[in-house]
């Protein structure tokens, strides 16, 4: 029992013996959220193209939607640059 607890403690305590490093600094949550939003918008632009190719969206609908999504994506990219 003691051997098991000691082995677990040694394994678990390993990170605690490490010195704090720059990589330990937390990610910027605002940036992470924007990155996630950007990826989601890319996917939506791609989905909209697929929907147009399949005839689900008329050319007019697609142009309007695509422009809307691109505008949102550009806003996200600008926010990421700031």
């Amino acid at each position: 029992m003691i051997v098991i607890l000691a082995a677990v403690a040694a394994f678990v305590a390993l990170p605690l013996r490490r010195r704090p490093s720059a990589s330990d600094a937390g990610e910027d949550p605002r940036r992470a959220e924007l990155e996630a939003r950007k990826e989601a918008l890319y996917r939506q632009i791609r989905d909209a193209e697929l929907d147009r190719a399949q005839g689900k969206l008329s050319n007019g609908d697609w142009r309007r939607l695509d422009a809307e999504l691109r505008r949102e994506a550009i806003e996200v990219l600008r926010a990421l640059d700031r």
Binding site: V8, G26, A40, D61, I74
Partner: protein
């Protein structure tokens, strides 16, 4: 060896407490090292519980009856395969399975998110460690729940596995259901983490969506296997009886289905945040409720394999989850409220919302019906239950409409679809559905069952719409890159796994619902009492009882009494069916012949499966004619045993030998002097398509859950990043 398992089980809660404490402290101090350490503690819990499982399985394989669990659920004659699976037929083994699968899933998700969601992961870790603590502590402190409890002295032989569980589907069904329940803990824990840390964008959903889908797949497989087992083993003639425990597995599956749809709305449109966290809490609560119903024995069920002592603590955990989550959601309502609204009813998000309402409605109906015995008892003092007709009456309309939306959803694009585009997309599936429905109404008796006919029409529409989706997708790909239609189809599916995997699930579901409607609405069921040579009519078929059969399996201590039935259609041979009934030497009545017929008996169904329908039969011999023989045999056994005296060496062996001789004589008599047999003969149309449709749905879910290679994801991202960079330059 067993001591090692017990030591690991004792160590596990300590690791859980540390994991939760270090994670919360790490979050408070923003100390990455503490958070890493807490993750390692979860890995350690997983390793410790893995040792527990290995030790327990080794005890089963060695038939180590000093372990109470092994003695109560296995025997030296239990086949090796069932020794390996006997663990989860017990309370302690089930709890160990729950905790072990939880620790695996928790380790996997924490490993995958080790460099992401730094604000919310510590809280998710604390929730997962808290759940693991609950289940490991339950094993150590609840009465009769310790899987390593010992017996001293150890019995020479074990009780053996419950005969009903000696079926291949039953070996896989419980771990599938439990895995399904447990995997819902992952999105739940991350939802709580997101609520506590106020990181309420869709990123936690993207990281845990696959775990929710895995939970859904496991539950789906578990439900299908359970239905298959019920159909071939229970002998009542159906695959779904609205049993409390069946319902308990269906409810989280329905809510999980709703969640998997509505998270897409949050991902794409940043809407339904309150709804999504509520759904994920509901799915996990219902998963806990499923475990509670199996283990508490509070409601009557074919799954009530034994009394339990863990019902109270499980109910306490459910209360904590519900009250705590509700309080957290209410406190974060301002952060959760979205600014966007649904732009058009002709949009995918609008259809997803309707489908969500239908799924939640179905779940509420099933919840009410399942818990009605407790509700009625609380109000009137009398416990009354609701049977299959009640469930059918209220679930069928919702299910029928749901099938329609299974077809409509994939046709629509996000945000809005113009009326012209909508008509273009709908007209072909609509025409196919009308023609197919008219054909079915003309060529079959479906017109007599309007609800079934409506469901067929909706399902035809859904299947045609989905086929058109694949066709159009392949066509668009060919227009872009050329090549054959099949290659184009493979290309678009592999490039859009989530979309086309989902469509495949919808097709499997529509097919399954056709089969459910056909087999339940157009079933022919006849009870016949026949002697050898007698015949009976079942619809268009003539069933003749040809001869009785019997066999004895000494290793399993099983007597099988069977029958050969000859089935003819239009005077032509159609099938030869061999149903049987198994009787086992029961515990507590060892060494008696009567004991064989007082314990658990199982049915082996005689069945001929075909795409058009199954000829299904189960039997029950009327053994009253052998009462005199059985009583006489038991009296003789008692007399011989009495003559030998209570101190006689090998008295048990002597009784066992005499019992064996008497059972062999009874088996012989069953063939030479046959008794009447009660047969239930069913003609079940299209049942095989339930399993085929279920398999297609599972395959579709596997396509959807399979991740696209990272390199391809990056390539796609780079393409759109480059396009937008050009747009930026122009602006």
């Amino acid at each position: 060896m067993v001591e090692l398992g017990l030591a690991c089980l004792i160590a596990a809660p300590f690791a859980c407490v540390y994991a939760a404490g270090a994670a919360l402290l790490g979050a408070r101090r923003d100390d990455r090292r503490l958070i890493d350490s807490s993750r390692r503690a979860v890995y350690a819990v997983c390793a410790l519980l893995t040792v527990c499982v290995v030790v327990l399985e080794a005890a089963f394989l060695r038939s180590d009856f000093s372990v109470a669990l092994v003695a109560d659920h296995s025997s030296t004659t239990t086949p090796t395969f069932y020794k390996l699976t006997a663990m989860w037929s017990s309370q302690g083994g089930s709890l160990l399975l729950w905790a072990w699968v939880l620790s695996i899933a928790a380790s996997a998700v924490l490993y995958l998110t080790r460099n992401r969601h730094r604000e919310l992961v510590p809280y998710a870790t604390a929730v997962l460690a808290g759940l693991a603590l609950f289940f490991t502590a339950l094993m150590l402190f609840a009465d009769g729940a310790n899987p390593f409890a010992r017996l001293d002295p150890a019995p020479a032989e074990g009780v053996g596995l419950n005969p009903l569980l000696r079926h291949p589907a039953m070996a896989v069904h419980p771990p599938m259901l439990y895995s399904g329940y447990v995997f819902f803990a992952i999105p739940f824990a991350f939802a709580i983490g997101a609520l506590v840390s106020r990181r309420l964008d869709a990123s936690w959903i993207r990281s845990t969506r696959r775990f929710a889908l895995v939970a859904w797949i496991f539950l789906g497989i578990g439900i299908l296997l359970g239905a298959r087992w019920s159909y071939s083993e229970l002998g009542w003639g159906g695959y779904w009886g609205w049993d409390a425990v069946e319902n308990a597995s269906l409810m989280p599956w329905l809510i999980g289905t709703a969640f998997l749809h509505s998270v897409m709305v949050q991902e794409k449109r940043s809407m339904l945040k309150v709804w999504n966290v509520s759904l994920v809490v509901a799915a996990f609560t219902l998963a806990l409720l499923g475990t509670f119903l199996v283990r508490s024995g509070i409601l009557e069920s074919i799954h009530a394999f034994g009394a339990s002592t863990v019902g109270g603590p499980l109910l306490g955990l459910i209360a904590v989850v519900v009250i705590g989550s509700a309080a957290l959601i209410v406190s974060r309502l301002d952060d959760l409220r979205g600014k966007r609204r649904i732009e058009s009813l002709a949009s995918r998000e609008a259809v997803f919302l309707v489908n969500n309402l239908l799924l939640v409605g179905l779940c509420l109906v099933i919840f009410w019906g399942t818990f009605f015995p407790l509700i009625s008892e609380a109000i009137t003092g009398d416990r009354s239950s609701l049977g299959s007709p009640w469930f059918d009456r209220y679930t069928a309309p919702l299910a029928i409409v749901l099938v329609l939306f299974t077809g409509i959803g994939p046709l629509l694009a996000w945000r809005r679809v113009s009326a012209g585009s909508l008509w273009r997309l709908v007209r072909v599936p609509l025409a196919v559905a009308v023609v197919a429905t008219l054909a079915v109404a003309t060529l079959t008796d479906a017109i007599d069952e309007p609800p079934a006919l409506v469901l067929f029409a909706f399902a035809f529409f859904a299947l045609a719409a989905l086929a058109a989706e694949f066709w159009r997708g392949a066509g668009a790909q060919r227009a872009l890159a050329g090549g054959g239609r099949l290659a184009a189809l493979g290309h678009i599916v592999s490039r859009n796994r989530r979309r086309y995997g989902g469509y495949t699930v919808h097709a499997g579901f529509a097919l399954t619902m056709i089969a459910v409607a056909a087999s339940s609405s157009f079933q022919t069921s006849v009870d016949l009492r026949l002697r050898p040579g007698d015949s009976g009519e079942v619809g268009d078929y003539t069933v003749t009882y040809v001869e009785p059969t019997s066999s004895i399996d000494d290793a399993e201590q099983r007597l099988t009494l069977g029958a050969v039935l000859d089935v003819e259609r239009d005077d032509e041979a159609f099938a030869l069916l061999r149903p049987s009934r198994n009787y086992y030497a029961s515990t507590g009545a060892e060494g008696t012949v009567r004991g064989f017929f007082e314990g658990e008996a199982t049915s082996e169904v005689g069945r001929r499966e075909s795409p058009g329908g199954d000829m299904w039969t189960a039997m029950r011999p009327d053994l009253a004619g052998y009462d005199e023989f059985i009583e006489g045999a038991d009296e003789r056994i008692e007399r011989v045993a009495g003559d030998a005296g209570p101190e006689a060496p090998f008295l048990n062996d002597l009784r066992s030998d005499l019992q064996g001789v008497a059972i062999a004589a009874l088996a012989e008599r069953y063939e030479s002097e046959p008794v009447p047999v009660d047969f239930r003969v069913n003609v079940n149309p299209l049942v095989i398509w339930i399993w085929v449709g279920g398999g297609i749905a599972i395959a579709g879910a596997l396509i959807a859950v399979w991740p696209a290679p990272e390199a391809r994801r990056r390539r796609v991202s780079d393409v759109y990043a480059a396009r937008l960079a050009r747009d930026l330059e122009r602006v």
